[in-house]
Subunit: 127 residues, 2 copies
Amino acid sequence: MLELSFNQETVHKLLQASDKPLKAYNILFETQKLGIKSPTQVYRALDKLIELGKVHKIESKNAFVACSKINCSNQNSTFFLICDDCENIIELEDQKITDQLNKTCEKFGSTYKNHTIEISGTCSNCN
Amino acid sequence: MLELSFNQETVHKLLQASDKPLKAYNILFETQKLGIKSPTQVYRALDKLIELGKVHKIESKNAFVACSKINCSNQNSTFFLICDDCENIIELEDQKITDQLNKTCEKFGSTYKNHTIEISGTCSNCN
DNA sequence: TTTAATAATGTAACAATATAACATTACATG
DNA sequence: CATGTAATGTTATATTGTTACATTATTAAA
């Protein structure tokens, strides 16, 4: 598993080339000319890419983005600023917030595993 | 709009009675004996209840919970601790985190509108 | 108390998102 | 080259959510 498979690579490249999150069936549509034929194939590739930390799911949009960071493996906690107008996504990391979420969990006797933070608003271009 | 309609009330009560988030089609199934007949009706009731702040959607689960707070109107920012094992949900408010998210937005020239924070982990009962 | 506006309903069809099941092929590695 | 694991191909189906359109309540003024 050093290299991505053809389907994985195809989906990953498409996401990397996009400035917006893409939906699974848009990915399917876009990659059909490249040989991907069914939703299953798209979702399988996405699952693998997500597992590798190369792609993240935007839960509030049922859409997917390539990870914008370098060494992104093994991280399934995400933090996004999402522009309501242009759909632009900014991917963040914030240790302070992560720490605070951990503390909050402790306070409730819960054990923290991972988080999804999605802020919607308008980005600098759209303000 | 002081009172909820029958469908709204029916869906709301079901959610309030539940200790777990419910999915739309579970709600449909459960309320069929009470007169609700189609997904549309469930989603319409949910939309209204969400608009009123009486129900929230758990984005990472496509499921819905009754708001656990008193004066909850007009708030579409949510913060949940979600137990992976028992699906128990704790609904939180944390002004410190909200402030920090606001600041983060400012730093990127973005305007904050609302947020979705979903932490998954295990709750005190399941630890 | 009619009338007009708004909110909610009922019903059917459909669109969008995601998974299951099962047979097959590629490929690393011992 | 045998064997196990990962990935693929294909079809069907399950789940989640929306559109469209006709109808009925409800409210609140004229």
